[in-house]
């Protein structure tokens, strides 16, 4: 549905995007993560035709939008629904008329577009708020209206630019739940740009990590997240902060007495790891921290053990690796 081919964007001497290849099949929710300055904003502006790439192509549903301009581009944009971080609703319009706006632009008759807008507000759970102005709605409600508006022209692709970055945790979960249910219900393809790893973990089927304007990693979420030792995986399932100094490194690094061993839960499960660790004398009480998620029915995540000596850590790692479990001495 979305195809990017060797996309490149240069601003003067700075290369903002380089060699971006990306393919998102219909009905999938794809996440793009990266730190600020990684090129996320430029990418989204290229996708919407607000910025013209220096080279390469962007096609949405087989239509190359890079060689469209004027009315052709305006037409192509209607196949993309866009959800913004700051929602960008018009303060002068009620929720209903905001949702109907894309249809007004497309020249749909008033009664038809208002009926459609009413239906969409029902879908996003704001049927009773149709006549409210944005100023009368909460942040989460505004974003729901924003999503309903993005869907009004029945786009094939929903492009979400940091849709939850301005929302609190509970509202974020509700909005992400809504996006997922819309995908399930309408079969729409979703591209979410975010800096929040939790968003990716929550709803994405596949993910692309952007770093310095390049694709650093891309793939199915379950694969990326369970790839042993990868930094993206570590970012996606972060360990809770641990006070290393009081237990680990302070004395450990000098005498070599205490070591941290990090085990990756890839292609295995928590009980398996614990059983194997037990067999070399490392009990569950040696767990310092852990983060485990269930993604597509599989447990993924990492566990950190503290072990008494370098020899013991080697023994643990060898034992785990014999079972195909990835483990390493933690930095």
């Amino acid at each position: 549905m979305i195809e990017l081919r060797s996309l490149r964007k240069v601003f003067g001497d700075t290369v903002a995007l380089e060699e971006i290849d990306l393919s998102v099949p219909a009905g999938e929710i794809h996440g793009i993560v990266g730190r600020s300055g990684a090129g996320k904003s430029t990418l989204i502006r290229c996708l919407t035709g607000l910025e013209r790439p220096s080279s390469g192509t962007v096609s949405i549903d087989e239509v190359d939008i890079t060689d469209q301009s004027g009315s052709g581009l305006r037409e192509a944009r209607r196949s993309i629904g866009m959800v913004f971080q700051h929602v960008n609703l018009l303060d002068s319009r009620t929720a209903l008329h905001n949702v109907a706006h894309p249809l007004q632009i497309a020249g749909v008759s008033k009664s038809e577009r208002l009926a459609k807008a009413r239906e969409l507000l029902e879908i996003v759970g704001l049927g009773d708020r149709a006549d409210n102005y944005p100023a009368q709605l909460s942040g989460g409600q505004k974003q729901r209206v924003g999503i309903a508006r993005a869907l009004a022209a029945e786009p094939k692709v929903l492009l979400c630019d940091e849709p939850t970055s301005a929302l609190d945790a509970t509202t974020t979960d509700q909005i992400l739940g809504l996006i997922r249910s819309l995908r399930d219900r309408l079969g729409i393809t979703v591209l979410i740009i975010t800096h929040e790893m939790s968003v990716i973990r929550e709803i994405c089927d596949s993910v692309t990590l952007l770093a310095d304007g390049r694709v650093a990693k891309t793939g199915k979420l379950a694969e990326v997240i369970s790839e042993p030792g990868s930094t993206l995986a570590k970012d996606l399932v972060p360990l809770p902060p641990i006070g290393l100094d009081d237990k680990g490194t302070a004395e450990g690094s000098e005498s070599g007495a205490v070591r941290l061993v990090e085990v990756s839960l890839a292609g295995t499960s928590l009980p398996d790891v614990l059983t194997r660790a037990q067999s070399v004398g490392v009990g569950a009480d040696a767990i310092l921290a852990g983060a485990v998620e269930t993604i597509e029915g599989r447990q993924v995540g990492r566990i950190r053990f503290t072990v008494g000596s370098a020899a013991a850590s080697k023994e643990l790692i060898t034992a785990l690796e014999a079972d195909g479990i990835y483990a390493e001495v933690a930095a």
Partner: protein, 224 residues
């Protein structure tokens, strides 16, 4: 010397009402016409400015200079300079109708600049959202810029209108009619302090009323 004062003064009892009506007519007509012409001009200024929907720097410079020149000419001089033009438009250089011509021309650039500034207040995100929906530039202006800036545009019209009230008084000095003419010919030239004070009171009331109505309308259309 014992001239009749206040409510015995014919300048007040007989001329005050028609002069007030003339001032109101001048203000309303010139505000209406200035908004009618100044709004599109302001939009044109704004859209052709840097970062506008259709940036045309040279055109913007030219429009900008014309607007600034008109705005910097003292109004009393503008009226005199426009006497031939006013005569051409309304057939006479005297009377309130002729004054409306000068007032309108003086107020158009003033209002256009205020329009430009009001439109600049509309957040870029809203415009980008509309462009993403496939809106044309005309649709963005009609459906985003103007409705979103409406409270500001009404506020600008109020300010213009109040300024025009004081301009009508100035126009009285050169045969423009209205309360200004009354205040000058009786209050000033015939030393009738009561007429002068009465004119000032009525002018203050008119300005207060315009401001009150303008604020009410602006608040009614403001949904922020």
């Amino acid at each position: 010397m014992n001239d009749p004062m206040w409510f015995d003064n014919p300048a007040i009892t007989q001329q005050m009402l028609p002069a007030t009506i003339e001032t109101l007519l001048m203000t309303l007509w010139s505000t209406g016409l200035a908004v009618l012409i100044g709004l599109p001009l302001g939009i044109w200024l704004f859209t052709s400015s840097k970062g506008g929907l259709k940036a045309r720097p040279v055109l913007y410079r030219v429009l900008s200079i014309i607007v600034d020149i008109t705005r910097s000419i003292p109004f009393i001089i503008l009226i005199i300079a426009l006497i031939p033009f006013a005569r051409f438009v309304v057939g006479s250089a005297l009377g309130w109708q002729a004054t409306v011509v000068s007032l309108t021309i003086g107020a158009i650039p003033f209002y256009a600049r205020l329009v430009e500034n009001s439109l600049r207040e509309v957040s870029e995100g809203k415009v980008e959202a509309a462009l993403m929906m496939g809106a044309s530039n005309g649709q963005v202006v009609r459906q985003v810029y103007v409705p979103e800036a409406k409270p500001g545009l009404i506020g600008a019209a109020t300010v213009t209108s109040v300024t025009l009230v004081s301009y009508t008084a100035m126009a009285g000095a050169v045969g423009g009619g209205g309360l200004g003419a009354l205040a000058i010919s009786y209050g000033y030239q015939r030393y009738q302090a009561d007429t002068m004070i009465a004119c000032i009171i009525v002018l203050v009331l008119i300005v207060t009323l315009i401001q009150f109505i303008g604020d009410r309308i602006a608040r009614a259309v403001d949904h922020r």
